[in-house]
């Protein structure tokens, strides 16, 4: 059928092309290392980096879990905080003028400089890393939500008002869906930075066992393959988290790529009302 073929084409483009580009990166890496006779302690071959991960997986896995936990907690806290800050600033205009400069200031502080006081306050736990991730994630979310809410079509909001809608209904039924595009842009930017934040947190506020320290350790032992391997793992965490957010976006905003609404099994009753 034509639709099946189209869907296959879409899958090929959305999944196949990114995989192809990953393979190209690996091939390029291999060519450079082999072609320029790069010493293995300067840069390993892709194969050696991958082996260093698989062979030490039982050691790495708990550290990976730790990084994932920091990333996810920090992202959720940061995104939630960022969303509500954006909403409050959009709704209370005097707060916008008051808070916005502080937010910009918060992003100008080097993250490394934050770590020391955070450790003093929160100790060497997951908490300071979560705070650092949230610190990085909330900003793009706030800015995008604020921007989105300020650009909702006034006529649409007025129409809801004419119908007699409360501000609460107008907000959830009109303003929030109308802001979905910038909201998800903010979340996607936040998702890409989240892992970086977690790694910086682990470096600056770590008590001994973390993915970042594992890499540092490998580095001081001139185990370059493990350094590269760990980088690949960190990158994989980052990409997975980003893809998860993209997946949620695709699921939550079907109208952007479909012309006809999907039928959900749990809404079947509703679809049968007059048949």
């Amino acid at each position: 059928m034509r639709t099946t073929r189209r869907r296959l084409g879409l899958v090929a483009r959305n999944v196949g092309v990114p995989i192809l580009s990953l393979v190209l990166v690996l091939v390029l890496w291999q060519l450079i290392v082999v072609g320029f006779h790069v010493a293995s302690y300067v840069a390993p071959r892709p194969r050696a980096a991958i082996d260093s991960v698989t062979q030490n997986w039982s050691l790495l896995w708990p550290l990976v879990l730790g990084t994932i936990r920091e990333t996810v907690y920090g992202f959720v806290v940061g995104a939630t905080l960022g969303f509500f800050l954006g909403v409050i600033m959009a709704k209370v205009s005097f707060l916008q003028g008051l808070v916005y400069p502080v937010l910009v200031l918060s992003q100008a502080i080097p993250i490394i400089a934050l770590a020391a006081p955070l450790v003093l306050i929160l100790g060497f736990s997951t908490a300071p890393k979560v705070v650092i991730v949230a610190w990085i994630v909330f900003f793009p979310v706030t800015v995008n939500v604020l921007d989105g809410l300020s650009h909702v079509d006034r006529d649409l909001v007025n129409l809801a008002k004419v119908y007699g809608a409360s501000r609460w209904r107008t907000f959830w039924q009109i303003e929030i869906p109308a802001t979905s595009t910038p909201l998800f842009s903010g979340l996607k930017i936040g998702a890409t930075y989240a892992v970086t934040g977690a790694i910086i947190g682990e470096l600056a506020a770590s008590d001994g066992s973390s993915l970042a320290l594992y890499q540092e350790h490998a580095n001081s032992n001139l185990n370059t393959a493990a350094v590269y391997g760990t980088t690949m793992v960190m990158t994989a965490i980052g990409i997975s988290w980003f893809l998860l957010v993209v997946g949620v976006e695709v699921f939550a905003t079907p109208w952007r790529r479909r012309t006809v609404a999907r039928r959900w099994p749990w809404r079947r009753g509703r679809d049968l009302v007059d048949q």
Partner: protein, 251 residues
């Protein structure tokens, strides 16, 4: 006092030095179709916004079925040139939007929306998102959404202004059919004199600086309206009078 559905009593509105609407008194009979024509900036939309309650007038009162509704909302159906369909809802869910914003959408509401959409040629598109519709179809959905407010008074502000001539003519005939079925009172703003005469029982002419009503014509054309009437002497005569007010006289 009056058997009018809508009564405006000396309603006035200014923006700074701009008198958008000088004191205006107007009665709109239940079940009638009244068109308002006038050049850009003569206060037509301002008048609608005051009736709908989006703007509080500087003076005067808006009475709906003898109830004072001045400065309050929730008592009219309202439709603009921009269809204002929400892209994240299907056609069916757009039609039931008013209920979703003010209460709960029941199965009866959904059934009514579907019946209406089928009756007016959109049955195939109930589960489509608005992005899949043509301009004319979108305006039809927007009008059904307006009907589903179940308000007796509908305010239509240049609803067909953005459509091409052919689609507009189709939409006008469609609107007359729906209006006859639905038994509502319609106030209809337009720039198009032909459109106002073709549709309305009464044509109100407004003029700017200051915004005010300058004439109020009763349309002699009988119903149902047909396209042939567009060339009848009565039509031509009324059009001449309105055109004179809009373009000729030193208004």
């Amino acid at each position: 006092m009056t058997d009018a559905l809508l009564a405006l009593r000396e309603v006035a509105k200014s923006f700074g030095d701009t008198v958008a609407l000088s004191p205006t008194t107007l009665d709109i009979a239940e079940g009638s179709f009244v068109a308002i024509v006038g050049p850009s900036g003569c206060g037509k939309s301002t008048l609608f916004n005051v009736i709908a309650g989006l703007l509080a007038p500087d003076a005067g009162a808006v009475l709906l079925a003898e109830r004072d509704v001045t400065g309050t909302t929730g008592h009219v159906g309202y439709m603009l040139q921009k269809d204002l369909l929400v892209p994240w809802r299907t056609v069916e869910d757009n039609i039931t939007m008013a209920k979703r914003l003010t209460g709960r959408v029941t199965n009866e509401d959904r059934a009514e929306a579907r019946r209406m959409a089928r009756a007016y040629g959109l049955g195939e598109f109930l589960r489509h998102y608005p992005s899949a519709l043509s301009g004319g179809m979108r305006q039809r959905v927007a009008f059904m959404r307006t009907l589903m407010t179940h308000q007796r008074l509908l305010l239509l502000d240049e609803p067909f202004g953005a459509l091409d001539a052919q689609t507009r003519l189709e939409m006008q005939q469609w609107l007359l059919q729906v209006w006859r079925d639905a038994e509502r009172t319609v106030l209809f703003i337009t720039h198009d004199v032909d459109e106002s005469i073709f549709l309305a029982d009464r044509v109100i002419v407004m003029s700017p600086r200051p915004g005010r009503v300058v004439a109020d014509f009763t349309n002699p054309l009988v119903r149902p309206r047909t396209l042939e009437m567009l060339t009848e002497p009565d039509f031509i005569a009324l059009k001449g009078q309105i055109m004179h007010l809009l373009h000729g006289g030193a208004a």
